[in-house]
Point group: C2
Chain length 624, copies 2
Amino acid sequence: MSPKITTELLKQLRQVMKSPKYVQEPVQAYIVPSGDAHQSEYIAPCDCRRAFISGFDGSAGTAIVTEQHAAMWTDGRYFLQAAHQMDNNWTLMKMGLKDTPTQEDWLVSVLPEGSKVGVDPFIIPADQWKRMSKALRSAGHDLVPVKENLIDTIWTDCPQRPCKPLITLDLSYTGVSWRDKIVALRSKMAERKVLWFVVTALDEVAWLFNLRGSDVEYNPVFFAYAVIGMNTIRLFIDGDRMMDPAVREHLQLDSTLEPEFKIQVMPYGSILSELQALGAGLSPKEKVWLSDKASYALTEAIPKAYRYLTPYTPICIAKAVKNASETEGMRRAHIKDAVALCELFNWLEKEVVPKGTVTEIIAADKAEEFRSQQKDFVELSFATISSTGPNGAIIHYKPVPETNRTLSVNEIYLLDSGAQYKDGTTDVTRTMHFGTPSAYEKECFTYVLKGHIAVSAAIFPNGTKGHLLDSFARSALWDCGLDYLHGTGHGVGSFLNVHEGPCGISYKTFADEPLEAGMVVSDEPGYYEDGSFGIRIENVVLVIPAETKYNFKNRGSLTFEPLTLVPIQTKMIDVNLLTQKECDWVNDYHQKCREVIGAELERQGRHEALRWLIQETEPLVRVQ
Amino acid sequence: MSPKITTELLKQLRQVMKSPKYVQEPVQAYIVPSGDAHQSEYIAPCDCRRAFISGFDGSAGTAIVTEQHAAMWTDGRYFLQAAHQMDNNWTLMKMGLKDTPTQEDWLVSVLPEGSKVGVDPFIIPADQWKRMSKALRSAGHDLVPVKENLIDTIWTDCPQRPCKPLITLDLSYTGVSWRDKIVALRSKMAERKVLWFVVTALDEVAWLFNLRGSDVEYNPVFFAYAVIGMNTIRLFIDGDRMMDPAVREHLQLDSTLEPEFKIQVMPYGSILSELQALGAGLSPKEKVWLSDKASYALTEAIPKAYRYLTPYTPICIAKAVKNASETEGMRRAHIKDAVALCELFNWLEKEVVPKGTVTEIIAADKAEEFRSQQKDFVELSFATISSTGPNGAIIHYKPVPETNRTLSVNEIYLLDSGAQYKDGTTDVTRTMHFGTPSAYEKECFTYVLKGHIAVSAAIFPNGTKGHLLDSFARSALWDCGLDYLHGTGHGVGSFLNVHEGPCGISYKTFADEPLEAGMVVSDEPGYYEDGSFGIRIENVVLVIPAETKYNFKNRGSLTFEPLTLVPIQTKMIDVNLLTQKECDWVNDYHQKCREVIGAELERQGRHEALRWLIQETEPLVRVQ
């Protein structure tokens, strides 16, 4: 990796920061955040402005350019990568280290008195704007919105915003029609006494209208906004895609409909002016509901007195609770995914052991190939983490030619991968050894497994938040002085983003919503030994009601059902470290893999993979 | 309990709310919070203003009186009690129920336009003032500080503010001199670049100067403030107590000292004017450190630009980490406390079983009697919860003649009690059956015990916050659909308040500080069956370093050492529900009780109690 040379680019940026063509008054600093106008985690190439200006293309980072300086804030996952990708014009600000200043403090320390700090109001979330604006103001500076994105003005070969065709999902996939979703949303709006709801997150627009797209890699979403009133529906979307007869039919654009279900299609770029018009016409008590993470631009369009902001929208919460059709779809997707992985692991054992010619990249490609053979496969759900030996200890590793290692019988192999199928999204991690694991590797693997089981088998009251389960996943590791430095689980979408809110399992006590039957999360404890190996065992699990002996205060209880049905390598387990209950869990799980995935392998005529499955699901025996 | 008749009192209050003698402009509402000027949990009789005006004397509640209405907000623990103690003039606002308005919303709904809402600025914490003031202002009303407390103006027989003699603690108890504590505090101040520190919490003043008092029942504190500068120490305190030669000697008031350790003693009532003078004389960059829970009055005395507010003060954090002398003191206090309880339980078994003449109140008094026989006993650390049968299910129960039940061989007895000794503070709960417990009672008790052990034996990395351990205490109950509706543990002071911050073990994710070796918390899971029984098993435990097989990232690990050494009734345990590890924990714990408490009982010549101890600590045998 050689760094990007940014001298000329920074010179150009500093020019436009002073150019009356773009700014009313010169700005002494310009902030380039990571996100897009929808605060997406994954973004399209045209939105990779921070990577363009700096060269650093990690998933998290904020660049700030002043007349004299250029600085990049990023977190511990990316210190090395950022240092490699950026040239000397840039100062790396290592977030989380004690001496690293916050963006606000740094700005205050370098700016001349009474400076203006510019930012694209579409990219910065309203809550961040508020915090930063307050800090700057109290030091005598001003945060100002710069309408035109200044990076775009100097990015001559900026790729076009994608505008790919849409996929319509019928009731067999979604379980609920978009009309019924609108009805439910309006009833939530009535409960909270709001008259308008602005949908800004891409996965929320996609979910609401039962449409999918491919504008952003790995995420089946499309660029759009929606504004839902009690009697109106406005969809802001560009391109020919609304000309597609299937889409017109799906949205009933050409039918005679009750007016409250008539969708008005408007240009994507008109959202701001439409919201401003809406905001200007509001009368007292007419509230507009927005996520508090919506962009500053859209939030400001609604006068403060009329805004109703919440951390999670009703769509976010409804989307997280999968209905029967979605649950069935998720089950089907995970069966197909397991078939692909049984094929892959069988193939790996045949290739790695005698030949030693499989690299991390070849293994990742092979996994994709097997997945793509499955019905309704659309694309991967994230960049495959295919890592062997020391690469496994890099939690967010993605093999590239420079780092690509060959799988061998001497190293642990970790594969974290998943796919988008039309009926569901998958995300699974398995850790394998193709030779003979050491006692220490088995010991660590077994602690991770105990943590995985402790979460998966946990029974907990209705209303429990996921973060209360996080320590269960760590307890066996903690007992021996071990731990892992990431959360235990995230929400998973239904043929949608592989990471979604509002629930999760983490020691970080973010404002997660209580777990409910129908929610889907990952269960993925791990252990990483820098320079040696990485271990992670990840299933996607469904929250289901639990039968309990008693029922305190009639609250009811919940537990998890694994949707992922891929064998956990028994060779890696030190059976004597398991309790009988844990041993039974593994055997029951493998029995289910054998039955469910075995039947599907049989049906698909994949006999070699079936043989592999049977061999890998032999019951454990605990000698006491 | 008959309600207090408040018609006349409310009439008088409404008069002073309009009287130019007390208010610049009439206030249309007056807020009477629970606390005192130090935001204490336990308060002196002269501060029980809310109880005086309403009759409701629970520990939590806020009264608001308008020209037309009188309303009381309290939480679920007190719905019944408040309803019984208040007359028809009052409306009970049940906090936590969906339809109960917040104080702000209610005020907005009942007040005429442009109203003034008065409150004593010394009683309301600054953070609460901010929230309420903002809500009222946005509805066109004003929150105004009323200097003279309006309740005090009508409370003709208001008790005097206590001003009891002080106790000086020498180094053998405190381990660190007050001079060294001041030095450490100043170094924390220098780190944060603040020049002044205002000590407002009573236990923080007491801890800092190695003094104790008895102005508030159960809490060995005294009314005082302190203001620490880099070169000055001001102690605001009333009464003759500064004439006591022992106190003068302890504080070196009459010695020739370096000026930075010279304590200026000032009247308690002069804190506000002194702070205002300090605030007026500050120059840029001279910051003053206050808790964000300090009163609005004191916070306002410092101009906003000069305030440095934190949720926990450096004293609060230093106080929580017990040094070797304090730890030894806590150990001694718990040994004496265990002696008293062995005496009590032995006496109860002799009295309850054959005679049936012991009531909850008699048992509580007897417990106090036995404790008072121990060296350095000062007082109880909270009102004893002595409850049998259904009373045990009332979590904050305190026996009074109207509810007093007689202990019997047919009911579970729960005793939650503790004391202040000069060397430490105790808090212990034991649940006993004097006859034959039912299988169900044993089952529930055993789940609670499993939770108690899971916390007590937990090993966790340095830097872990207590709330991450809460679920360990519940897991066994959750497995069977059971739970308890309170936190698992609180910080405990060293001959100081029985509840102290900044750490705890709770599912409520308040901003707790990470656990550190030397911190002392309670471990007290429970199970309560309304109308039948209550179970709680509580030890006070010390955070200690743990030896582990590995040491991830060199972080080190922690665990707990029980300070409480009182047998857990084995009769209540269903041994077959315990794992071998849990069984070993109980046997090891009882072995330690036998050794440590046995030796002390022997030394004190308490042979009957020793016999009881030996009988109660017979090892459990698990039949597999």
